[in-house]
Symmetry: C2
Subunit: 215 residues, 2 copies
DNA sequence: GAGTGTGAAGTAATTCACAGCG
DNA sequence: CGCTGTGAATTACTTCACACTC
């Protein structure tokens, strides 16, 4: 009897998303049932961890067999909130914004871009895939009009907080932040940061530590 | 007497990188000394956490005062391995690759792009900032020639493992992976993955959970 | 006084190990 | 038998709280 539920760690959720990715990349022929062992190998974790994670939301395996790939996929999509289509606005139409706008994996999962905002007069009024880029100073209205639920934020660090405040005023409750600052938001608004420099520096730390280990 | 040392968690390292970012964004006038309190607020953590993290590598604060911003910055750069310049190769010159190649924060931190590889015949031979894009089938040699230490990998999922194997053969020991697969690498090679879809889905999970909480 | 550095206490996450079911 | 589901044991991480120093 698993609740929908309280106390699921952030890292468990991230792993669920990874399991979903693994399931979607099963070879034809593997698509019947999968064991926690297989999921673990391809997701980069352990079988026990996979079982624990899944058991947080129910018991959808068959003992002695494994998990039905198709139904586990469905279940994970549901858990992650992917049953609904999400309306996403891109705020910041620079190179990073363009890359994310084109990123095929977002679209494939049911994320739909409904608005693009930028402050560059050269870009305002031009279109990407039928979507006209709108001016930053009309953002609040634009976001409301198109019913944006999530904002992908790729603006420069110096304007990130100010833009965020306006995004929040427009009623958006989820932000994926690429700007290298910690955003302040009121309760009820959720920010997930993608910290590219941090990720790269975690790498240089490890590489340097390895070198020191050798001699 | 703090060792250089064993048992520093991945999350502690990531926070160190964030503290460095905070220090680099101090306003003029704040640049003298900073308290763990200030660092914590801007990094999105607690003062105790900041002090614990820093104490893993030494005691570089002054009691009653705080940390010297300038020397803490230096110390963090050193710890993270940023005293040296890193030679980075971009493997995969699509939109995401382009965005990362232009990403100003990498360059600012002393990461230098020394090679670009792609498999698209239309791109091979063209240049980005004086760097000529080289063919995938000459990658191994190209990476050796330019002394690449880190690879930023933005190739499609289906070719990611194969490309990685070649990258490893070329002697590269650090990979920042943007492809949505778990890469297998031999011991001594380090992969840090940036999982954009996972990050976005952690957001949809949280947003959906919030809705359920209300009514 | 103000703010660091750090053991000790408290929480959280992971791994173990095995009962139980298909 | 094989593999899940899960309490119990372990390990890792964070927070507390206070002695210590400037």
């Amino acid at each position: 009897m698993p609740p929908s539920s309280r106390k699921v760690s952030e890292s468990a959720i991230r792993r669920l998303s990874i399991y979903l990715r693994v399931l979607e990349r099963l070879e034809p022929g593997e698509e019947g049932t999968v064991s926690s062992q297989i999921l673990a190998e391809r997701a980069g974790t352990t079988a026990a961890q996979v079982r624990k994670d899944l058991s947080l939301f129910g018991s959808f395996g068959k003992r002695g067999l494994g998990y039905s790939a198709a139904s586990l996929k469905d279940r994970l999509r549901e858990i992650l909130g992917l049953s609904k289509h999400w309306r996403v606005a891109l705020v910041g139409a620079g190179r990073m914004g363009a890359a994310l706008f084109e990123y095929p994996h977002f679209r494939r999962r049911g994320f739909e871009f409904v608005s693009i905002i930028d402050s560059d007069p050269k870009k305002i009024g031009t279109s990407w895939d039928d979507l006209t880029i709108r001016a930053a100073d009309t953002m609040e209205q634009a976001l409301r009009e198109c019913g944006a639920e999530i904002v992908i934020l790729t603006v420069p660090a110096r304007s990130a907080q100010e833009v965020t405040d306006a995004v929040v005023r427009a009623g958006v409750r989820g932000i994926m932040n690429f700007a290298p600052v910690q955003l302040k938001v009121p309760p009820g608004v959720r920010v997930n940061a993608v910290r590219l420099t941090v990720e790269l520096e975690a790498l240089t730390f490890a590489l340097r530590a390895d070198e020191d280990g050798d001699g």
